[in-house]
Amino acid sequence: MRAIPSFEIGELRRQLKYFSNNKYLYLLLLPCVIYYIIFNYMPMYGLIIAFKDFRFSKGILGSPWCGLENFKYLFGLKDFYRVFGNSLTLSLLRLVFFFPVPIILALMLNEIPFLRYKRLLQTVIYLPYFISWVVIGGILVNLLSPSWGIINSLIKALGGEPVFFLGSDKYFRVIALISYIWKQAGWDTIIYLAAITSINPELYEAATIDGASRTQRIWHITLAGIKPTIIILLLLSIGNIMNNGFEQIYILQNSSNLQVSEVFETYTYKLGMVNGRLSFATTVGLFSSVVGFILLMIANWIAKLMGEEGIF
């Protein structure tokens, strides 16, 4: 028997005392830890069915391995490249046309001199964020309907032919982009406005004294002041390139715009939940999350190379 050196016992005692002193803090944290293990980390473990031929009767562990079969099949599939392309296109459209909108709106809100009116405007532009995509999709589908939508009634009244906007490949991306800006842009100003309030007001005073014009102050002080926030949000959106948001796309999707509207989330849903190919659907999901995660890492690394603060 090896004698336990006394300093180890002392250390152990100290540890035990520490935990007993803080036992209530750990107790408070316990439900959260259990929740994360079950509802966040168990599904990650469930991702291994991408490498298996999953059957509910056999369970995750009991289902036979199939190696990279699912991936080989996926990469050989024509649909996969179309879905990949659609997801990327929608995200890039958002990055280019959506991303600057909340920044511009926040800069403009900041210049509005009438405080009460400014607050009223804020209240109004935040509103769409709180409305479900089902409702927004429902409004859009009906406003754009070829038989009773007001847009087409207007076209007909002007002597034109009604257009089935959501039933064609041509308009889907524009509609998805505009409705996204409409719902999200107002709300996203909040984080920039918060960043703007933390800019030191003395900077503006000094610049004014030095003769800087209003636009110069906006550019060199306000915009420069929120640059770190812009970069963090840009990183996050780059990390999100593979996610288009199931709720919006699915609600605007129908069989005639599928060619451009099928994205990873809706494709996974249909494969898994409609066709019951759970393993293959998981493969698709895993592929898109891994690519998204890698993109985020690369973006974060580049931001750090450029001397900016990253996310991690």
């Binding site: 959260c32 473990y45 469930g46 991702l47 001199p113 003769g211 989330e265 849903y269």
Partner: protein, 298 residues
Amino acid sequence: MRVKNALVRGPGDSFVEVFSTLTVSVFALCCLLPFAYVFFVSFMPYTEYLENPLKVIPSKFDLTAYRQMLGYKLIQSGYQVSVFTTVVGTILSVFLLVISGYPLSKTNLKGHRFFIYMVLFTMFFNGGMIPNYILIRNLGLQNTVWALIIPGCINSFNLILMKNYIKSTVPETLEEAAKIDGANDIRILFSIVTPLLKPAIATMTVFCSVGYWNNYFSAMLYLQDRKLWPLTLVLRELVVENTSAVSPVTQMLTSTHRSHPFTLKMAAIIVTITPILIVYPFMQRYFVKGISLGSVKE
């Protein structure tokens, strides 16, 4: 300072102010118009709509569509499910955010970094749709309202926000004083810390309740039984889906000629968003404060 500013005001200043005010006003108007249109059309009598489909404001407020909509069984059960999940889910979420955010705000607690990374990692990587579905099915939560409440009841983003808020507002001296008086951490949390968290709790209540009320994806994934459908899923079937001729929805929409299907659909939308529109003016003053409380960055 005001005087100095006034002295150097040039024509550029007025231009920037006018231009900004106008542009944001136009954007705000665009945010409101669709709702206003839906609201008016939902009261439009059928004959008036047929006469002129471009008519926006009805000559009288016709409630037929609402009577029909509120008499629809799935709308009634949907309302019950949505109210239940929103109330129970929000209480559970906010409670969990407070009790978990408090220990996470203690930076010198052993294992702090580990717990934070446990939370942060899930913001960037997750199991995704199908593994979640398998989990819910294996837990026996499928086709129960709990499938709408429990998954997602701790949102990592909100948790980090809460943790940052606690760290930045609760003075440590206060807790130390209570500790000397012999109070344990749980008592300190509920009797001393929680009252200081009112603004954060209000913000979280807003975020969680709107999230629960608007969600339709979990319901689509986990609930096959239509009686358990929340309002959003019922609305989707009514308003968006190209329903087949045999479905009960199509039958309801076509069998009665008292309202145009379009008017009915608009009424269904108003019925769904009314609770949010009612509480919105009260809650909006909280979230502006709430979001600026702490950034997501760890």
